[in-house]
């Protein structure tokens, strides 16, 4: 950025060489164009074709959405974002508030023996659905921020779970499951009841 500023300053402020007035005028116009395009590039640095990229604070202390460690698998819902981060030495789940620009504590979610793989959050930030590995098995958990605890869904299924998805109200959930020897999609409600759809996988 400093380089761009210095270049634009030099281009605009350098004394004009002894040329005829026509050439001088043309060169001045050229410099004005360069300056304008430089300033425009500076202004648009946070923009892409679809909108504006949020300037999220990049905190080495680990109190923001991004850290110097790997931050992956974002899922945004309303003002909340869940993501997975390596900042504490293991792959932990984080809940971030886009409006307050802070991390929200989720006590009881990240357990030392649970490796979280993917997650989804409801729009009010109260429910978090996540797939995890524990004791060598793939599991699906639903975390309630009100109760501050996770409940394992379908503990009797001998299957792997992937790609959890929760609707905005946190009442309906969809996930990938390999109960039939291939990847199928299951749609259940929060209480573990299957939706009456043909070919909905059951145990």
């Amino acid at each position: 950025m400093r380089l761009i500023l210095r270049l634009t300053l030099r281009l605009t402020l350098r004394s004009p060489s002894p040329l005829n007035p026509n050439d001088r005028c043309r060169r001045l116009a050229q410099r004005a164009t360069y300056t304008c395009s430089g300033l425009l590039a500076l202004l648009l640095s946070g923009c892409v074709s679809g909108g504006r990229l949020l300037e999220l604070p990049f905190d080495p202390g680990g109190r923001s959405l991004n850290s110097p460690y790997s931050d992956t698998h974002p899922a945004v819902s309303g003002r909340y974002v869940v993501s997975l981060s390596d900042r504490r030495g293991s792959q932990d789940l984080l809940l971030y508030d886009l409006q307050a620009r802070t991390l929200i504590p989720i006590p009881g979610l990240n357990q030392w023996d649970v490796l979280i793989e993917d997650a989804s959050v409801s729009e009010d930030g109260r429910w978090i659905l996540f797939c995890a590995l524990r004791e060598g098995r793939s599991r699906l958990y639903l975390y309630s921020r009100d109760a501050q605890q996770s409940r394992e869904l379908f503990p009797n299924w001998r299957a792997s779970f992937r790609h959890p998805s929760l609707d905005a109200r946190g009442q309906r959930l969809a996930f990938e499951v390999n109960v039939n020897g291939q990847w199928d999609i299951a749609v259940y409600d929060r209480n573990g009841q299957p939706l009456p759809i043909p070919t909905n996988p059951r145990n």
Binding site: S49, V81, I104, A174
Partner: protein, 205 residues
Amino acid sequence: MKVAVGWAFCPWRREDYATVAPRAIVLCFLLLLLVGLGSCAAGPAPRALGPLNSRFSDRQPALSGDGRYLALMTDRNTQQELALYDLQTQQFIALPGVNRRDRLIESPSLSRSARYLVFLASERGRADVQIYDRLQRRGEILTLGYPGVIRNPSISPDGRYVAFESARRGEWNIEILDRGPGAGLDGPSGAAGQTAPVPGLPTPR
């Protein structure tokens, strides 16, 4: 004695015709078959998708905010394609112009009423986040001009924010794209999401 057929200068005789005719008929039949198959492959013939799960791989489910629609990736029509399923009527919904031969789609995500469909599309050697507006039947690239590799996009139910993973800083980080309050939102934030606070329990911020 051999009898000449047709004009005098025609070198073929009746016996020649007898041997050539069956071969010609078979050849014509094969040609017609090829032409028929070719036109089938080239035309955008609508194909039935059947029930939600097929005997092929069905992956990456994404519920809409209202829980009625489900986006998924399916391999049932030989090519990996994006499909949209209505859980209420139990039917697939057509997505004209989304699945094309020249690009690979992954990681779908839906807004509240499934108006917006966000996915990662790889074409011409670059993966970009694209949004498809079902109301206007129009697709748009959201990350044109973004310097970096992109993965796993996700749209918020109101359609305002799109989160994705980026390798711009040499490691995976998260970027949040704000489409702005005037971007034709899909229902206000929290319209269907808020429930009455339960007394005695910590209220979510």
